[in-house]
């Protein structure tokens, strides 16, 4: 649906985006992740035909952004970082204007407007002046504007910025409900957002692509070993945590056991495996055969925070990932 090749955008003195290539399949939600100033907004502006690329090509729904911008614009819905709202218009009036501007037939406009108002939960403020709405409502009006003409591709620049936690959850749910019909690219510098809503992540830093993969793969790639959180309890009698620890260390494939917490009859550990070993079943068996209760056994995900810091912290880390990526490419091709 979206195909970007060698995209470069240079401003007078700075290179905002440097030779980025990626592809997005139809119906996917892709997270665009990077610190502030990484080039996320610039890339999105190129995709929406707001800025022309300095070099490289960007293709949306089969149309090139430079050759056929009108066709691209018809198929794309865009929510910029600050929602493009006219403060002295009413919500319904504004959406009607946008609908006509996006090329909806006049007869369809009222129907679509009430549909998106319901979908974005702004039906109750339809007749209010936009300038008097709260930040959360404005953001949702912005989102309504983006999906109004039912575009194939949705480009959302930090859709949850400035919202309160409840609104963030609602917005994420809304975005997830839009996937399938729409291909969505959303940018954020909040990592948990990507973990929650996206299938794939594209990480950029200082204008360059650092990594792109599914959230799961990215986690696995950066950590060869498995990490398991274990909570052990004793049904009767006392529980000696040193004893439990010793037992766990004896399980084959375990490289390290770290005591996390102890309460009177429970203690929890984080158990790390050797490279490429799966230890969950062994650990469970060991605990049960020793006569203790297994209260919890849970794989510890590698949080995107860690990935992100690793990837963006130093040039060294970047190179490492690129090497790894090259190692993995043939494997991906086989699949």
């Amino acid at each position: 649906m979206i195909k970007v090749e060698g995209l470069t955008k240079r401003y007078a003195r700075t290179v905002a985006v440097d030779d980025i290539s990626f592809e997005v399949e139809k119906g996917q939600i892709v997270g665009f992740l990077g610190p502030n100033g990484a080039g996320k907004t610039t890339t999105m502006r190129v995709l929406t035909c707001f800025l022309p690329p300095t070099a490289g090509t960007a293709n949306v729904a089969g149309f090139d952004v430079l050759e056929q911008p009108l066709e691209v614009k018809k198929r794309i819905g865009y929510l910029p970082e600050t929602p493009p709202l006219y403060p002295d218009m009413e919500v319904a009036e504004y959406l009607t204007f946008v609908g006509r501007l996006k090329g909806l037939a006049n007869v369809d406009v009222p129907k679509r407007v009430s549909e998106v108002c319901d979908r974005c939960a702004i039906a109750d403020v339809k007749t209010k002046i936009i300038g008097k709405l709260s930040k959360g409502y404005r953001q949702r009006v912005g989102l309504a504007q983006a999906i109004l003409h039912n575009p194939d591709v949705l480009v959302l620049d930090e859709p949850t910025s400035g919202l309160d936690p409840k609104q963030i959850i609602e917005t994420r749910e809304l975005i997830r409900s839009l996937a399938g019909d729409h291909t969505i690219i959303l940018s954020t510098h909040i990592l948990s957002e990507v973990e929650h809503s996206c299938e794939r992540v594209i990480i950029i830093n200082q204008g360059r692509l650092v990594a792109q993969d599914t959230v799961v793969n990215l986690t696995n790639r950066l950590r060869g070993s498995e990490s398991v959180a274990v909570e052990v309890g004793a049904a009767t009698g006392d529980l000696n945590h040193a004893e439990v620890r010793q037992r766990l260390e004896q399980v084959t494939g375990v490289s390290r056991v770290v005591l996390k917490d102890t309460k009177d009859k429970r203690c929890s550990f984080e158990v790390e495996s050797l490279q490429g070993r799966s230890i969950r079943a062994e650990v469970a068996r060991a605990v049960v055969t020793a006569g203790w209760d297994l209260n919890e056994l849970r794989p510890v995900g590698f949080s995107l925070e860690d990935i992100f810091l690793q990837l963006t912290a130093s040039e060294k880390a970047e190179k490492k990932v690129e090497e790894k990526k090259e190692d993995e490419k043939p494997a991906e091709a086989k699949v």
Partner: protein, 255 residues
């Protein structure tokens, strides 16, 4: 064409939804009203003096009242036009709504035309207020209506060309005050350029004074449609809108 209309309606609505339009209408009504009062008082006084001196020469309302009034209307327009155009692009750039316009399936020229037309319609409706004053003249006298129509045509053409220049200047900045100030300076300059003809008769001076919008308004105020003046105004409008479109396109490259 539909897109032009969509933009046009939105712009016109936002003029009349905010106090701008009413403020401009009020300013024009007051100032033009004052000019009208002065012109008619003077006309009546002169008429009485003429009769007392025994010279019963009939005085021409068109020549002594309406013509100076139309010229005055165009001067008021000079002050109002920057206030009409300054927001057109500067406001969109400041608030970020320019991103909506430029990522919608609409050509740059269509946006420019829509915005310029809405400014022109506001300008025409401001001029429309002077119709009330002229109606009074028709109620008490018998002015010739044809030169008046020609005069209004001149006002509209002149306004259209200054509005096109104002729209162009508005694309160059995010700041409405700067847009308004610069437009006012340019309009004023185009106004006073013909003063050179008073002290200089060289070819250079002729060219400069030809560029003045006033030189081309004179025949209209007399009720004369000269194709040379119509072409001047139309080409200025075309040129202004062309520059605006180019400037909007360049926003993408410079942004």
């Amino acid at each position: 064409m539909r897109n032009v209309l969509v933009i046009f309606k939105k712009e016109l609505k936002s003029y009349f939804a905010s106090p701008i339009a009413y403020l401009l209408l009020a300013i024009f009504a007051v100032i033009f009203g004052f000019f009208f009062y002065s012109a008619t008082r003077f006309f009546v006084l002169q008429g009485m003096q003429m009769q007392m001196m025994g010279r019963g020469m009939p005085m021409d309302v068109n020549e002594y009242v309406i013509r100076p009034l139309l010229t005055n209307a165009s001067v008021i327009g000079l002050f109002l036009i920057p206030m009409i155009t300054m927001r057109l692009y500067a406001e969109e750039k400041r608030s970020g709504t320019i991103e909506l316009l430029m990522t919608s399936p609409v050509r740059d020229l269509e946006i420019v035309l829509g915005k310029w037309l809405s400014a022109l319609v506001l300008y025409i409706s401001i001029l429309g207020i002077s119709g009330i004053n002229l109606a009074i003249l028709f109620a008490f006298g018998r002015p010739d209506w044809k030169p008046i129509l020609v005069g209004y045509l001149g006002l509209i053409l002149q306004g259209g060309c200054l509005l096109a220049i104002g729209t162009f200047i508005s694309t160059m900045t995010k700041n409405q005050i700067i847009a308004g100030g610069a437009t006012f300076a340019v309009c004023l300059m185009l106004w006073v350029l013909d003063w050179v003809s008073a002290y200089d008769q060289s070819a250079w001076a002729k060219v400069v004074s030809y560029l003045s919008v006033v030189t081309h308004f004179e025949p209209f105020s007399k009720g004369v449609i000269d194709s040379k003046d119509v072409i001047f105004y139309l080409s200025m409008i075309f040129f202004g809108l062309f520059l605006t479109t180019r400037s909007v396109e360049s926003l993408r490259w410079r942004a």
